[in-house]
Structures are given as C-alpha cells and as structure tokens.
Amino acid sequence: MRGAKSAKWVAIAGVVALTATACGGGSDSGGNSGKVDPKGIVSYANGEPQNALQPANTMEAYGSVVINSLFTGLVNYDKQGNITYENAESVTPDKDNKVWTVKLKPGWKFHNGEAVTAKSYVDAWNFAANPANGQQNSGWYRDIVGYDKVHPEKGKGTGKTMSGLKVVDDNTFTITLNSGIPYYAYKLVYAPFYPMPSAALKDPKTYGEKPVGNGPYKLKSWDHKKSIKVTAWSGYKGEKKPKNGGIDFKAYTTPQAAYNDLRSDNVDTMPLIPDSELANFKQDFGDRAIEQDFSAINTVNPAFYSKAFKDVDVKVIQGLSMAIDRDTIAKTTFAGTRESASGWVAKGVKGYKAGACGEFCKFNPKKAKQFVKDGGGIPGNKITIQYNADQPHKGWVTAVCNSITKSTGVKCTGDPTTDFQADTEIRDKKQVKAMYRSGWVLDYPFNGNFLADLYGTGVDGNKGGFSDKKFDELTKKADAAKTIDESAELYNEAEKQLVNTFPGIPLWYNKTLSAYSKNVKHVQFDQAGDPILTDIEVFKK
C-alpha cells in the first residue's frame, strides 16, 4: 500500500515494536500521592515533524502522533483487529463491496466551532488528492473512482474532484471504488481520511502551522524544534475523552537524550527505547517498563533479479531459512526483545495464523544443508545481505550470516549501505546484489496488507522482483470475497502458498518497548506502535 504511516520507518528501522499484551500500564508506583490530576499534562518524547501538520501530508512518526491527537476519523480498530466506529455511525458496503455508504454521527464540531459534515470529508479528500496541493499521502485515495483523473501518474490532472465521492446529505456520503475491496473500512482509519474545516482549504499554509481538528485535543502552540502543546478539548463528542489535561510533545534530537530524561522523570514516556539501552531498560524502570506486541515483521528478501537468485530453486531459499537460528539470535542480539516469526504476517492483525511457514522457519542445520545441496546451491556459493548502516542492523545481520554459513557452508556477508536513503535507492533501482533486509509495519490490521502489498507481482512494496501467478490469483480471490472474515481466510490460503516460492525469509516479530515516568500511569501503545494518549493519567504533584 502506498503511503501513510510511512514515516514510521523512523521507528522500525531502528527498532522494536509491539502490540497490546500490556505488561505495561497500570501500576501506581512512585513517590506520588497516588491521586490523579485530570488537568495534568503528559509530556511525550517526540521530534520535530517533517512537514506542516496537515492530515494527508503527515507520514512520519513525529507528525503522525500529533495529528492523531488532534483528529478523530470515521473508524478505528480494537486490539482484536475489529473495526470500531468513531465519527461514523456506520460504514456499510453494497453487496460487491464497491459502493460504501458513510453515515456520520450528528452534532460533531471542529475545534473552531464549525460543524463536521459529509462535505468536510469529501472536500478534504478532494483537496488532498490534487497533486498541486502537495499532500504526500494522496496515494491513499487511489481506490476511489476518479482519482486517476485528479492525480495521474504523469502530467496534469483533468479534474479537481473525484467522481467516486458523493455528498448525499449533511451526514451521509458515498464512496465508489474502482473495484470491490472487502476490507476497505480499515483504510479509513488513516490520517488522509480525516476531515478538515473549510478554512483549512482556503489557507492550507496557515492551517499547516495551526491545524484545527475534530479530535480529543486541540492545538495550543507549536514552538518549532522545541515542543508542540495540545490541550484536552471540552467539546469532544467521541468515546475516548482524555483522562489528562493535555500533551506536551517535546522535540528530542536523539532517542538517547530522551531516554536519559525519562530516567530522571523529565519526560513522561517515549515511543521506543534506544537499542543501546535494551539490555538494561527493564532494570531501570522495573514495573514501569513496557513490552507489548507490535504488528511488524522483519525479513530478509532475495532479489530475484540478482545473479545469486535469478534461477534459484526454491529449495535453496527454504534451506537458507532453516539455517537461521532465530531463537538464539533474538535472545543474544536483541536481548530477548523480539520473537521468532513463523509466517509472513505479523501478530495482532486480522487473519494472523501462527505457523504458516511450517518447518522452514525452524532451525535445522542438517536439513538446511541438504536442501541447499538438493536445490543446486548458489552460484559462487556466496550471498550478501544488504542493510543500512545508519541504524543498528549490523549485529543481527552478522549473526544471521554466521548462522547460514555455519549450517550450510554458503558464504554469507553483510553488505552495508551508508544510510537508509542509499539503501532504498539501491532497492528501487533493482541493484541489490543478493538479499536485502526489510521491515514492514502494518498500514491496517489485516493480513492482506502483509501479503498482496508486499509480494504481489509488480506492486510498489515488492522490491525483490518476485512474481508468482498462483499467489496473485489467490490474492485476487481474497479481494473479491464478500466479507472481511472470508477475505482474511482466503488471504491465509495465499500466505500458505508462499511456502512454495519463498519470496522472503521471515525472521522476527517486533515488540514495542517503552517505559514511563513516575508522574503518570496507564501508558499503553496500540498495535501500530502509537501511544494511546487519551488514557494516560497524571498524578497530582
């Protein structure tokens, strides 16, 4: 899938992840009175957002977390991956999942008093789809009829509005898709689908500095590179009313600096513990340490256009997969903060089933060697794993390589690129020498997001040049299913087919590792790795 959450790469590149099993949250430790101050301000270690704060122009983690506090979309999802209704009263598809009717809850307002209507949504989306408005996430509307007229791949668009969006009345509008998508409602969770008030469209620049949303918090101030302050908004109509008085998003330039502040209670929580502190953060924070599942997965993927893997027999890749001692590496290199993967779909999403990869994701050096041999081996008996050296990947890549070499005799070395930019450039240009490391954080909690969007023939996320007709057919079938559950089931079939082609070697599921200060309680993160800010409670000083 194009787009959104991508700035998330900030997070996944370095680290760790996590969903909601919650060993965090809850304990009332610390030298506080234990009384909660509903007006208390939570400080959150963040960074300077990359772009102006417009919902469809915010892809990276620093901006997303602020935008998500200011806006409430049509729907959201719970820990089981089921859709929950927020600003929408209902979102219903027709029998082909092609025309979706959205009914809004009446009476919602923006922070400036303007009513949130069907028009607020339709106008905002049309605005963001237009490339002239420079909204980075506009690709998220591509399923809607008429998007290609407004936003063609090349050249100037021929229209300003998408014909697939129709306002029926103040609280109803319809979305017509190019083809049926049973799980379309999940996509509506994302920031590009937030509404904007009419003033925003008249003066997007001013709006980007002072966004006005419909969410639980409203913007108080944005002091560039220092902090963004939001306060709880009394007019909020949603279910999840803030249990604190506001959030102070402090800009840190390094996670290490944030961590040291967190230890001294100068900041209340942070998104991810830096790698250098993984070994001791549990000791430092005791029961204030957080470790939760996070719907993200790490893999190493063969480049099927490279010399090493061009005409490779799948047995070789299966063999390489069995040659990796995932458990031991997770324990040693990651201090136990990752969990061995048993398939291509991350935990905590709809349709996740353990064990899709079967015996091929279990360490078995003997069989590994046999498989590589039976498959005809690798030209030159040599492979490399490409990674970006600006993030701490070297350790685990080396460990994976050692494990492969030791088990199969195939010589494996790391192939560092200077940084993430250089890494993606090589991948985009299809110049990877053999294999590359990859990570994927969910766009929406549905197994299809980890399958069709990564391994479908020719899709944007497929950087290894993988192609399998049978898999494509299975995903097409899954997309044509009538219901979400049926679709998830069919996608599960498609995942099982990957065993026969092995487009990527699953390694680990991520976890969210974080901690919180003595000033607050009830700190939790959702399966996308984002903090649940409205639930945090602040102790009276």
Partner: protein, 309 residues
C-alpha cells in the same frame, strides 16, 4: 593596515565561492534521493515526487541549481527545505544564536581556565603544578568528548540530579553551562599546553632576564612581558577554535539535546537537505574567515614588530 584588511576581505570572495561550490557538489553526489526519502520505507508517489523536485528546483542541471542558489544567497535567500518547504533562513536564524551562546560560553571557559592553567604550569615548569596540569590535559585530550559528555550527563543529571539530563530550554544560560564546559574541555587542554610551552620557552629569553634585572615587579613581568609575547600561538588557536566550536558541537549538542548548529547540520546530512547543509556551512565559513582575520590583526597588537603595510 587599511589596505591589508581590504586585501584580506577581497581574498574571502574566492574562498567563499570555492567552499560553497565544493559543498554543493559533494552534497549532490551523495547517494540517495532526499525527495524519495520523504516516503521512507513506503513506495513514493511519482506525481508528488515530480512536483516537489520541480518546486525546489531540483530538476535543473547542477550548475543551474548552483547559480540559482548563489543568486538567491546574494539577496539573503537561503532557499527552502525539501521536507516541509520551510525557508532555510528560518532554520539558520533559530539555530545560530543557540550555538553562538554555547560556543561563546565554551570559548570563554577555555580562554580563562586554559590560559591560567598554562601560565601556572609554565612558570613552575617541572614542579607539582606543572605535572598536574600536564596529566590533566593529557587525560582530557585522550578521552573522547562523548565519553566526558555522557559521564557528566549520567553523573550530574541522572545520579545526583543537580542538572536535568538534557537541556530543556536552549536559550537558558544556566542549563547550557555543563554542555559548554564539556564542549570547551578539549580546547582548554590545548590552550593550556600551548600557553605552557610558550611561557616556558620565553622565560629563558633575553628580554625576560633584562626585565628581572631592572627589578620590575613580578606581576608586571608576567603579564606585560612574558604573557604578551607568549600569546601569539594561543591566539591563533583560540581564533580558529571559534569556528570549530560553532560547527563541531554535533556530539555535545546531540548528547544534551541542544538545538544548535551542530544538530541542525547533523539532521540535514541525515535527511540530505542540501540547501540547509550549504546554508549552514556558508555561515560557518564566514565565521571562520572573520575569526582568522581578527586573529591576524591581533598579532600586531600583541607584537608591534608585526606590521601590516
């Protein structure tokens, strides 16, 4: 004197053009496309990429980009950032005062403490004070700055709680004190050593013997005769160090979360923000040039035998 200054100022022009051109080229040959990088792990949108490249003039040939840039610069326009489309000048005017404050505190610290230690050690060469100073400076020079910084942060911040581990407000002088001391540490060691050697050497000079023989007070001998003649190498070092302190604070600023020039430069490099890198370096080059001019002029004040025709 006037002609000398004029000539020096004229010399600055080619240096200025040369450095900006070099940096400009270097930034552009780095692998990785900053516009593509805005999309992170996810696939970029070709129409948006084209739009952004066009907006920022990145679709022009390099030499045209450079000419545009220099043309803008002469009118005080440093260009726009790729991410966020913000004026680079805003970023610079936000970061420089912070670094200037930090650097001047560090500089004052190394100047006062460094020269004092150097003079003490030089006068009592081979004695206890000298050995202590030598040992101390050796230690400071050999321990990397980030070790000192992190130790200070952990010890004074996390353990003792005397300071907040990071700077909460980069405009607060009190909070900048510890980072400034850490930043000035290495320079201090060099200043102390340079002063010591120079003092120790000049103490044997004929004019010193004369001054002592004339029966001048000790205080006067040291400050007027010895120190003044010994300061030339130290002043050279202190002058060039102004620039180093401004731009070289990447590590210290990172550890203490100070939003100064070092941090700005580091982030800009990581994000390949060419306009920001060139802009910051341009200002740093100006600082360097100005500092070295002032140093050269100071020579004449310290030693009147040096004259500028």
């Amino acid at each position: 004197m006037g002609r000398y200054v004029a000539r020096r100022l004229l010399q600055m022009i080619p240096v200025f053009i040369g450095t900006t051109l070099l940096i400009f080229i270097m930034v552009n040959v780095l692998p990785g496309d900053p516009v593509r990088a805005l999309w992170g792990d996810k696939p970029p949108d070709p129409a948006q990429v084209a739009q952004i490249r066009h907006d920022r003039g990145l679709d022009l040939p390099l030499w045209q980009q450079y000419l545009h840039y220099m043309g803008g610069l002469l009118q005080g326009d440093f260009g726009k950032t790729i991410a966020g489309n913000r004026p680079v000048l805003d970023e610079i005017t936000q970061a420089f005062p912070v670094s200037m404050r930090l650097a001047s505190m560090a500089w004052t610290f190394e100047l006062i403490v460094g020269i004092t230690l150097g003079v003490l050690a030089g006068i009592r060469r081979g004695r206890f004070v000298d050995n202590t100073v030598t040992l101390f400076t050796l230690l400071v020079i050999s321990v990397p700055i980030f070790v000192v910084g992190l130790l200070c942060q952990l010890f004074f911040g996390n353990e003792l709680g005397w300071i907040t581990p990071t700077v909460q407000d980069s405009e607060n002088m009190g909070q900048l004190l510890v980072p400034a001391i850490v930043l000035g540490m290495v320079g201090l060691a060099y200043v102390a050593r340079l002063t010591r050697t120079s003092i120790a050497e000049n103490r044997q000079a004929d004019y010193m013997r004369t001054a002592v023989a004339k029966g001048l007070p000790r205080q006067r001998i040291i400050t007027r005769h010895l120190l003044r003649n010994s300061l030339i190498p130290v002043v050279t070092y202190l002058g060039t160090d102004v620039g180093t302190l401004m731009g070289g604070a990447v590590i210290t600023e990172g550890i203490f979360n100070v939003t100064g020039v070092g941090n700005l430069l580091f982030q800009a490099l990581a994000r390949r923000e060419g306009a920001v890198i060139v802009g910051v370096v341009t200002v740093l080059v100006l600082v360097y040039l100005a500092a070295s001019l002032i140093v050269d002029l100071l020579y004449a004040v310290l030693d009147p035998r040096i004259r500028y025709a």
